[in-house]
Symmetry: C2
Subunit: 276 residues, 2 copies
DNA sequence: CCTAAAATCTCTTATAATGAGATTATTGCG
DNA sequence: CGCAATAATCTCATTATAAGAGATTTTAGG
């Protein structure tokens, strides 16, 4: 399901083969991928689509699109809105509920989130790492005016912040290097080093400390303190506390760091629970 | 995407036509439906599946199932867990986040939920009605020990409770009757009437009051107070306050009822926002 | 290193997805 | 209420392509 940036659906050359000409933006797409591609279009910038817009955007013909919409509608992934437009449907909500309730990582982390957020005016969150992206999967806020919001589902960038570094620091060399290269600019801008070697040294220190601390890297004025959650000594997620900068002295940071590291360690001990 | 209870995938008779013999449980299923059918299996009782289990359950052959899993994996709907098992993936979380952030009903209701939950020790929630099911889509709890939990995604039955009645009361006769028939037993057991006429009379009173009140119908000891959210005078959701029974005197119930009704009315005024 | 299991690939065949256009259903409006 | 305009579905011939059997490769485990 990869989008090729080189060729818009409509502009590609004509060949005798109608079908393969229609979907040049889907590399090796089968009909399943083409249905799921419909869901790709629903974004925060554009959460509603009319059939005609979908047809135009995806290059599908009318009967085909309506067939797809029928499947998606019947399975609840989309739902009709007034004016003949479509939005994401109840299935999405149900599946997230299920995912939330059946994720052993969340079950293991929740008591720690509650405890930590009760101890400090902060936001305590768990961020899962999916290889290419990071997503907040659970968070509890206790600060009255949280410096920034991290609800479940919020995506996070890999280059900046304590969370990203806490995960990168525990990856095997082979797996860090691509990330170091890819996010070199971000890592440099937050002072993690300007060469690969410097960055690796920074990560090594994080690994030794067992915890990463970041000052205003993601949100100005917010301090992030994150420790990895490991499964078979491999990072799968990160436990993070974000707290307002002005409330927080160096000694307190050290104390919270120790708490976060210990909580993450305990969550990590819950075996058999995390992804591959 | 309906499962036929009469015939397990493996036991159906042999005909010359291999393909249609394989999927007797999917009525008129196309290949899109067969892929989406994989996702149907992930439930709270069984949130993880191995490829072999999926093959056996769905009756798909090995290459076919792996093809499906590849599509679902690449689009993030499932993710591999340790031991070669699969669980729902990050896409589910992302889509719910998007759905949450782009739902105008939630945006319109949130200030009211915050206000109401701040005024009383209760849980304030919004439940969307999807024709066949009801789902909590937003909730805020202020009670220290809430009598029951209503997180987003929690499904609700149509037969019992203030929420269901607040919606049924505002449906046109043609649409209520099937529900009255279907949930006759539930409606009778909560004292809404033992004949269709009695039930309709009860609903009429709810409609006149603009709000439905239920005492311990869903959760013993919990009082539910719900008012419909209308779009073009058609109910699309319900705003509900649940509060512990022992804290709540009759006079307070009347006051909260008025607040809930008024809040629901104001949310309803936000036009152009609700489903079809 | 070797074995066993898991995942993918190859290739043929028959299915069923597709698209053009016709048809039917819905909606809006005078 | 009926008509026009739009939206959604249906029909059916065509052929691309999904499926399956079995071989092959990859991965995991001892």
């Amino acid at each position: 399901m990869q989008l090729s940036p080189f060729c818009s659906p409509r502009e590609c050359g004509n060949t005798a083969n109608t079908r393969s000409r229609i979907y040049p933006h889907l590399v090796k797409a089968n009909s399943q991928d083409r249905v799921l591609a419909v869901l790709d279009l629903f974004t925060e910038a554009r959460p509603q689509w009319s059939p005609d817009e979908l047809m135009k955007e995806l290059g599908y013909t009318r009967p085909t699109l309506y067939r797809y919409l029928k499947s998606l509608k019947e399975s609840g992934f989309v739902m009709p809105m007034r004016g003949g437009r479509f939005a994401l449907g109840p299935r999405v909500v149900e599946m997230d509920y299920l995912s939330r309730r059946s994720d052993p990582l969340i079950a293991a982390a929740t008591p720690h989130l509650e405890r930590l957020s009760a101890m400090h005016p902060c936001t305590a969150l768990v961020v899962r790492w999916y290889g290419e992206k990071m997503l907040c999967v659970a968070s509890i806020a206790s600060a009255v005016n949280p410096v920034s919001s991290y609800p479940r589902g919020r995506p996070m960038a890999m280059g900046r912040g304590a969370i990203a570094r806490s995960i990168m620091a525990f990856l095997p060399r082979q797996r860090v290097m691509p990330l170091v290269t890819r996010y070199a600019a971000d890592l440099r801008s937050v002072g993690a080093g300007s060469t690969p070697d410097e960055i690796l040294a920074t990560l090594k220190r994080v690994r030794r400390a067992g915890v990463a601390v970041a000052f205003g890297e993601v949100t100005p004025g917010a301090i992030g303190i994150a420790a990895p959650i490991l499964d078979a000594s491999y990072p799968v997620a990160s436990l993070c506390i974000t707290i307002a900068g002005q409330d927080t002295k160096g000694e307190l940071i050290d104390r919270i760091s120790a708490e976060v590291r210990e909580a993450a360690r305990q969550i990590s001990l819950t075996t058999d629970n995390n992804p591959e």
